[in-house]
């Protein structure tokens, strides 16, 4: 049995971190360390993506679903009893804006996408990349 084989690794999730036409050990002889490392990084990235996504969403919901830009102060209107004038009262309060929610989603998506780079390499004649990525 040949000790090493060239792997078709053009697409994300198939070749993983190993570039195209990179020589890697045969699947059967793949060191356990690399496989575990890839699995750990992949899980860590996906977990981080989940945390970033959930944090962004919860901050935004906690800030009152504010659709505008982030604010460092919040202005509310009060009425002067004597004159009847409406006047603004500004208080320091950070309100999470829609742009930060978008950024959180973008970072989360990026981390999730990056996690596919740490799938096990393809094992020709054995399992497909899709199957491998599920492992």
């Amino acid at each position: 049995m040949e000790a090493k084989r060239r792997v078709n690794a053009g697409a994300w999730g198939r070749g993983g971190v190993f570039g195209e036409s990179e020589t890697i050990p045969d699947a059967d002889l793949l060191p356990v360390g690399i496989s575990v490392f890839c699995l750990c990084v992949r899980l860590a990235l996906r977990l981080a993506a989940l945390v970033v996504c959930c944090s962004g969403l919860s901050f935004w919901l906690g800030g009152g679903l504010h659709m505008g830009w982030s604010k460092s102060t919040e202005t509310r209107t009060e009425i002067d009893e004597v004159t009847g004038l409406e006047y603004p009262v500004t208080a320091s309060k950070y309100v999470f804006g829609a742009e930060l929610l978008g950024a959180a989603f973008a970072v989360s998506g990026g981390l999730f996408g990056l996690s596919f780079a740490f799938c096990k390499p393809t094992r020709p004649g054995n399992r497909s990349g899709a199957e491998m990525s599920l492992i």
């Binding site: 460092s72 002067d80 004597v82 009847g84 004038l85 603004p88």
Partner: protein
């Protein structure tokens, strides 16, 4: 003889009262407000973004005569550095050189010349004030609708000092292009039209 005395007495009364009536000085109201109730709200509704902010650095004086509201005149000054929007980056840009250039133009001033189309209903007087508005060093003639409310003796309720209050409300629109406020730029985000809502009260202690 009696009639002569009656007539003489009447003239004496008229002459003694007349100067007081004729020189019925206008009441001078001071619009400086430490409680920061006096404010100007500005709104800009652009296609991509709607911006609203406030300013509370109001000062100035207005002379008002309840008997002759058409003679109302004075000056309202707004400190440019008191302009505020809740987004800190937007506020920095607004006060910077490109927009309001606060360091060079520290005030916005409105000088009231005369009041026309005066209508009085109880303590409320409505009309149009013709005056001059100076923003960012550019002065233009403007006519703004105003609603004045004269609250006689009400200052004691507000400031614990006997006196009168004059409440001034006015809503009008200006164009930033008229005053050289980054004219022609970023109009998709910051509209050319600026809607202003002036809500101020002046005090005249006895």
């Amino acid at each position: 003889m009696k009639q002569f005395h009656k007539g003489k007495l009447a003239w004496v009364l008229i002459l003694s009262v007349a100067p007081g009536v004729l020189s019925a000085d206008s009441i001078k109201f001071d619009f400086r407000d430490s409680k920061k109730v006096n404010n100007v709200v500005f709104l800009m509704d652009a296609p991509l973004e709607s911006i609203n902010g406030t300013a509370t650095g109001v000062s100035g004086t207005v002379s008002f005569d309840p008997a002759r509201p058409a003679a109302t005149a004075g000056k309202i000054v707004l400190s440019t550095s008191s302009l505020h929007v809740d987004n800190p980056v937007m506020k920095k840009h607004m006060l910077d050189e490109g927009w309001m250039h606060v360091s060079k133009f520290p005030t916005i001033e409105f000088v009231a010349g005369k009041m026309t189309e005066v209508k009085t209903t109880g303590t409320t007087i409505t009309g149009t004030i013709d005056g001059k508005l100076t923003v960012k060093g550019v002065t233009k003639k403007v006519s703004v609708p105003v609603r004045l409310t004269y609250l006689k003796g009400m200052l004691i309720k507000r400031n614990r000092v006997p006196g009168d209050l004059l409440v001034l409300r006015s809503d009008f629109t200006i164009k930033r292009s008229d005053y050289g406020i980054n004219a022609g730029n970023n109009e998709e985000k910051v509209s050319d039209e600026i809607e202003l809502k002036l809500r101020v009260a002046g005090a005249a202690p006895y």
